[in-house]
Amino acid sequence: MSEFLHQLASGLALGGVYAILALALVMIYQATQLVNFAQGEMAMFSTYFAWKLMDSGWPYWRAFAATVVVSFFGGLIIERVVVRPFAKAPVLASIIVFIGLVLIFNALAGWLYGYSIQEFESPFSGRPWFGNVYMSAHESGAVVVSLCVLALVYGFFRFTPLGLAMRAAAQNPTSSRLVGIRVGWMLAIGWGLAAAIGAVAGMMAAPIVYLDPNMMGGVLLYAFAGAVLGGIDNPFGAAFGGFAVGVLENLVGAYVVGDEVKLSVALAIIVGVLVWRPSGLFGRRLVARV
């Protein structure tokens, strides 16, 4: 029983990471109907940036904050420079751009920082929190950070004028422009926010999966599975899906298929959801009247 609870708890910790990365995917998906396959690699690159800052003596939280800010502007610039020119191109062109970004960030990280696996410090060390013996301090901390990110993002979109404008721009670009919203910038800010959130996901994942240029490959796949499970057009659903996939992955890995093939759980979830419930648990079913 205690073993089971332990698996469940550490599933939640990684699930939090999947949840916020899924949220980043959903943010861009809602505005463009595209899944940014480079979200994981961008997060990995941000994590290396944080690692480099700490390596040069910065304290953890200062490096954390700087990384989030730099990632925001990095995402914004990527949208403006690389993604924007293909806004009116066919979907496949954008997908090729995303794949290109994956390769660029992966190679760049390997070139700059090497391919050997690095340890990444956790800000939450020492004894487990609140006598919670089923989770390490970092796992508890990661869950708390994930929940904070979710709450902040929810608050931003729900209660600020900029958040409202971003929702409006995603939903009805023409009407948004007619009330004076600069729709192009809203999309760029969306990319910035997604990159910043992704950076948090990377920094929370790194102490668990260790830092190397391929660290986010699996994580992105689980996050994507989470987004699909919850409903890729629904931020709440995607976050829920992320947690669910984290737990499911761990339990299935521990008791059913074993650690080696547990990544295929993500694939099974994606295929299963697409076959039986394409809009996800909480997604809106789109019905077109012909």
Partner: protein, 238 residues
């Protein structure tokens, strides 16, 4: 009335390689109402879209003397041109209140915005009742009221309305046009209105332009168009 708020000369508009307007001239007097009339496909909606920069356009467009023909849609909106598009442009997933807040998006004077909320709610009390409701669940007439209210929250100097009567019950149309007349009279908001219902539009407007296949066929004071035999037979139906 002190000179035109909007002057349009030789306006051409294009959808890709296809030209839809071929040199349209008209004006909206400051505080006045100009109606664009014409049959389906004549180019009325295109004319509004061209003015808002939603389609590629050529020609001279001046707002209070300032050329706006090269500005982006959002820049034109920020100059106080409020365009109520065809189909009403509702943000269907957002609440009524959020739709209205978006109208005031570029403004920062909170007290004034609150006053404008009260003002549109006094014109359209039904919107106040449905404040928290999702806008997509409103009826067609309510969505038209919402679109007009959203435009009014921009504090526009020029209100451009694209077929406000479209698909609505006659009683609702009557109500909306009565309120538009009041807004024009009491607040001095200039209007450019596109309508298929020529009779209604001519009642509201002081000037009118009849568009036929992308060209101005007749233009002048509303009275003159109403008296014109061809207009009467083809568009007023008596």
């Amino acid at each position: 009335m002190s000179g035109p708020i909007l002057e349009v000369k030789n306006l051409a508009a294009f959808y890709g390689p296809i030209q839809a307007l071929f040199g349209l001239d008209f004006e909206v007097e400051d505080g006045g109402v100009t109606a664009l009339l014409g049959a389906n496909g004549a180019g009325k909606t295109t004319a509004l879209r061209a003015l808002s920069g939603l389609v590629r356009r050529e020609g001279e467009i001046r707002l209070r003397g300032m050329p706006i023909g090269a500005l982006s849609t959002e820049a034109i909106a920020r100059l106080g041109v409020a365009h109520v598009p065809d189909g009403r442009g509702t943000f269907t997933d957002l609440t009524v209140e959020e739709n209205l807040r978006l109208g005031a998006y570029v403004r920062s004077e909170r007290a004034e915005i609150r006053k404008d909320f009260d003002r549109v709610f006094s014109y359209f009390p039904r919107l106040a009742e449905r404040r928290r409701q999702q806008a997509g669940t409103l009826s067609g007439g309510e969505q038209q009221m919402l679109a007009i209210s959203r435009a009014l929250l921009m504090r526009p100097s020029l209100l451009m309305l694209d077929e406000p009567s479209f698909g609505l019950a006659p009683l609702v149309v009557e109500e909306i046009f009565r309120i538009l007349a009041a807004i024009n009279r009491d607040e001095g908001v200039s209007m450019l209105i596109v309508e298929q219902n020529a009779s209604l539009a001519l009642d509201l407007a002081d000037r009118a332009v009849l568009i036929e296949t992308g060209r101005a066929a007749i233009s002048g004071p509303s009275q003159a168009l109403r008296a014109d035999d061809a207009v009467r037979r083809a568009y007023l139906g008596y």
